[in-house]
């Protein structure tokens, strides 16, 4: 099978990327999805709050997904359900080789000009937190519990403690309460929540669920099924403080301790990952260090809002389409031809903008990372968006941006928190007009300066 663009993952990122690529003129687009249906994790997010930015209305997760799925169906963009990609390799003629498996076709290879990575992320498991204690049934990631409750209508337990105040944990505190469980506490290792402010108010405060900041689980009791957990307060080095232990009887421990972009395929392909995000480094086109491989959504960096995922993915889709146009010399690749039989499957090796030395984006003083991390000046949009996260809670500070060493922006920020993704925009003219621009630096500073 031969394609222009293969999109790995049919969640919000994959869907938006597919639509934008189609609109930008890509012909042969294929979405590969491991589940039965498109929509990704949105299908189990039955709470509202999705789409405020994109549609100016509050939708549930499935409703938000449906808007994209309907368009994908209308555009007749094909997708392979229940299919898992097991490898992405680089072919001899500039093509990418995507190896996948499903029950219908068995093991097969898809040859494609471009790949868009949209695999999303997964939840950090108990093991990665190295929580001591027994290993009974009754310990779930918040997302697994969400799936049981929202898709299967089944309760994972009745008396719940949640570790971690990420958004899914907060949402699940409310959901479990609404379905008849007692949520006894939400413990958070950090002195601040990792979730959105609105979720803390609507999911915990409104239900009287205590949020214990600077607390963690230090022991799990129960040989077969969870019987309780011990919480303890932690010091500034996040070490439990002796004497602060408190046993809470419960039958379930939910973990909402962070999300990890799912980059096994990317690593095997040789894509460089940013340790701050665990996602690929990308340029303004959402293209990774490997030409023709793009990334968007939570596989790139973990988002708080699906609206931003869609926006970013659309940009990735558009750029991927442009890449295919240039690489394939503006002619569509031969559809459905087997490898080696179509002479014009060969792609142009040199993509013009990749010859250019890009401007480097530097995350400094309080800024953990930026997306993108490089800019090719010839490719930036009329308005270039830079998204970033900070490394701590900051109050009454200034976001400063420097072009080389020249300050070009100072924005007052009342509160900045790691749980809220931030962004800053620059007009293309402003960037292009700066002489010999090599580096753009983002910093959090105390003084307006």
């Amino acid at each position: 099978m031969r394609q222009d663009i293969v999109i790995i993952g049919g969640g919000p990122a994959g869907l938006a990327a597919a639509l934008a690529a189609k609109e930008a003129g890509a012909k042969q687009i294929l979405i590969v999805e491991r589940d039965k249906e498109l929509g990704g994790i949105l299908n189990q997010c039955i709470h509202n709050g999705f789409g405020l930015h994109t549609f100016q209305e509050e939708l549930t997760g499935p409703e938000y997904a449906a808007r994209y799925i309907e368009k994908v169906e209308r555009e007749k963009i094909p997708f392979l359900p229940e299919t898992i990609v097991i490898d992405i390799g680089e072919g001899e003629n500039g093509e990418k080789e995507v190896t996948a498996m499903n029950k219908e076709r068995g093991l097969f290879v898809i040859y494609t000009a471009a790949v868009i990575l949209a695999m999303g992320c997964r939840e950090r498991p108990r093991g990665a937190l190295n929580i001591p204690g027994f290993r009974p049934a009754g310990i779930y990631s918040a997302g697994t519990a969400q799936r049981y409750v929202n898709i299967e209508g089944r309760m994972p337990g009745r008396e719940i403690v949640i570790l971690g105040s990420g958004d899914i944990g907060l949402i699940m505190a409310r959901r479990m309460t609404l379905e008849g469980a007692k949520v006894k506490a939400v413990a958070e290792l950090m002195p601040y929540s990792g979730g959105l402010k609105r979720n803390i108010v609507q999911c915990l405060d409104d239900f009287g669920i205590p949020l214990k900041l600077s607390h963690t689980v230090v022991d799990i009791k129960g040989k077969k099924r969870v019987e309780g957990v011990t919480l303890a307060q932690v010091d500034e080095n996040k070490k439990p403080i002796a004497g602060t232990e408190e046993f809470i009887a419960c039958d379930t421990l939910l973990l909402s301790c962070g999300l990890l972009p799912e980059n096994e395929l990317s690593l095997n392909l040789g894509i460089s990952l940013n340790p701050a995000t665990s996602g690929p480094y990308v340029n303004e086109s959402f293209e990774t260090n490997i030409s023709g491989v793009f990334a968007c959504g939570n596989v790139l960096h973990v988002h708080d809002l699906v609206d931003y995922v869609s926006e970013e993915a659309a940009a990735a889709g558009k750029h991927a389409a442009a890449y295919v146009k240039e690489a394939a010399g503006n002619r569509p690749l031969e559809p459905e031809a087997e490898k080696g039989t179509a002479a014009d499957g060969t792609l142009k090796k040199t993509i013009s903008y990749r010859e250019e030395t890009p401007v480097v984006l530097e995350a400094a003083a309080g800024v953990r990372y930026t997306v993108p991390s490089t800019l090719h000046l010839s490719r930036i949009e009329d308005v270039q968006l830079i998204r970033f996260r900070v490394d701590d809670v900051y109050r009454d500070v200034f976001l400063k941006v420097y072009f080389n060493d020249t300050p070009v922006l100072s924005q007052k920020k009342r509160v900045l928190a790691p749980g809220e993704m931030e962004q800053v925009r620059f007009k293309k003219e402003q960037i292009a007009a700066f002489p010999r621009l090599e580096k753009i630096t983002l910093r959090i500073e105390k003084e307006a300066g």
């Binding site: 898992i84 498996m101 939840e123 299967e152 309760m155």
Partner: protein, 486 residues
């Protein structure tokens, strides 16, 4: 209560009990294995280092020394016959002190006396040339090329399955509560059933003393010695190729750093005598200690790559040797007790040794129809492209990936459920297929495996357990409790 009569009843389906049962099945005997848990390999056999010790550790002329060396020599052939993962990766004992050479020399001599072949003493630089990740602190080392690693579940399950195929009856969820001597045999009471056998083999791990003391006046006392481990992501498995031990010292004894047969990195175990024989919980102190001591062996231990931690209990007996043989005052009651390290390495030899003891006292005729070979579950993750295509062509479920981290397919899980002594629990599927053993630790695949188990065993997902009674995953339906209170 119905009474089931056998020639031999083996109590405990860990690696020792399973090895004995399989060897006994080579003769014409009616054999039963009684196991308290819901699956085989649920006690000490599932939570240990997975090491096939070369055999230089044990004092010469002990059963530990003899059976370890024999077992290690049998392991390769057995791994082919029974299709489980084994690799001779070599063991290294490192010394951080210049004068450690004397102790290494002692181990070397002991090894030679025990019949261990190919031992070598190396300088710090020589051993670092072999294992570049070793700490610069290492001054000298003992290298044992015959040391190996094995999948502990793979070995245990293979032995048990093969025994079952050869007619051994396994009774799971069957806890022995009482054993009484009767004329010419033993009455064995479990919660559900009564058994009778001429010969009893006591392979009950940390509980072997309790069972022994039911029939013998010569008291046995077994202490549960807890060992805690941290397991790291497959990304780190290449850090060392060999198993790295440290010379016993005041600071540490027995904490090793080793690759596993599946390519993870394992660090542990600690050693702590505990009162609770079910105390398989990890502790903050224990895990910290395992990492601290283990870290000394290598330049940099990748602690950020931990994917899980666990604890196992070794059955420690004061004599420091295996207690194997017929109880002096209980005819026909054979102990396989105190099977602490190197119990796993010795298991194949223990099976033969115990079967010979029993044969000498209670002879049985040979049988011609013993099936020695077993084919394991196909492994898509390790299969070549051609093998994958062939498996899928035979059965499409091999193209449906259930566990992404370890690339385990529905076909493998179905195989695990439907083979002899098949999996009935999530942990059972995990130990047979590795579904859930990867970096997400079953976060993604657990609900899918539970669904497959329910479908195949004709149960509701609410009845499926992690590891037997009391370990269900679900507790009723949404709003159930609320409608009752409104």
């Amino acid at each position: 209560m119905d009474r089931l009569e056998y020639d031999v009843v083996v109590i405990g389906a860990g690696v020792s009990g399973s090895a004995v049962a399989r060897e006994l099945a080579k003769k014409t005997r009616r054999i039963a294995v009684l196991e308290r848990e819901s699956d085989v390999c649920e006690g000490t056999s599932k939570a240990n280092s997975g090491i096939v010790h070369a055999g230089f550790d044990a004092q010469p002329d002990t059963l530990k020394a003899k059976l370890n060396v024999q077992g290690a020599k049998m392991m390769k052939t057995l791994s082919k016959e029974l299709d489980f993962s084994y690799k001779q990766n070599g063991s290294i004992v490192v010394s951080f002190e210049e004068d450690g050479r004397e102790q290494l020399q002692e181990l070397y001599e002991r090894g030679r006396q025990n019949g261990v072949e190919g031992l070598q003493i190396l300088s710090g630089d020589e051993v670092r040339a072999l294992e570049p990740a070793l700490s610069d602190e290492v001054k000298a080392a003992l290298y044992a090329k015959t040391g190996g690693i094995v999948c502990p579940f793979g070995l245990n399950i293979a032995l048990a399955e093969n025994a079952a195929v050869n007619g051994v009856d396994f009774y799971l969820n069957t806890e022995v509560v009482k054993i009484e001597r009767e004329q010419g045999g033993y009455r064995i009471l479990t919660r559900e059933r009564e058994f009778w056998a001429k010969v009893v083999v006591n392979a009950a791990g940390v509980h072997a003393d309790t069972l022994h003391n039911m029939v013998s006046g010569r008291r046995l006392h077994i202490t549960a010695r807890r060992g805690e481990y941290c397991l790291m992501d497959k990304k780190t498995g290449g850090l060392v190729g060999s198993t790295i031990f440290q010379l016993p010292s005041a600071n540490g004894k027995g904490i090793l750093v080793t690759p596993t047969v599946h390519g993870n990195l394992l660090v542990g175990p600690t050693a702590e005598n505990i009162g609770d024989k079910e105390g398989v919980n990890t502790t903050a102190d224990g895990l910290a200690r395992a990492l601290l001591v283990g870290a000394r062996s290598v330049k940099e231990l990748p602690v950020r790559q931990i994917i899980t931690s666990f604890a196992g209990l070794r059955a420690h007996e004061e004599s420091e040797d295996f207690i194997i043989g017929e109880a002096e005052d209980a005819e026909g009651f054979f102990d396989v007790a105190g099977m602490a390290s190197p119990g796993l390495s010795a298991a194949p030899a223990v099976g033969v040794y115990v079967a010979n003891l029993i044969q000498a006292r209670f002879p049985a005729a040979d049988r011609a129809d013993f099936i020695a070979a077993r084919k394991g579950i196909p492994c898509m993750a390790e299969a070549s492209r051609e093998e994958r295509k062939r498996l899928i062509a035979e059965n499409r479920t091999y193209a449906n990936v259930v566990c992404r981290c370890e690339l385990v397919t529905e076909g493998e899980i179905l195989n695990a459920i439907h083979r002899p002594l098949g999996a009935t629990t999530l942990d059972g599927v995990k130990r047979r297929t590795r579904a859930g053993m990867g970096r997400c630790q079953s976060g993604f695949c657990a609900p899918k495996v539970v669904e497959i188990l329910a479908r195949e065993l004709h149960k509701d997902i609410g009845e499926i357990t992690k590891s037997g009674a009391g370990s269900t995953f679900l507790n009723g339906y949404n709003k159930e409790t609320m409608s009752a209170s409104i």
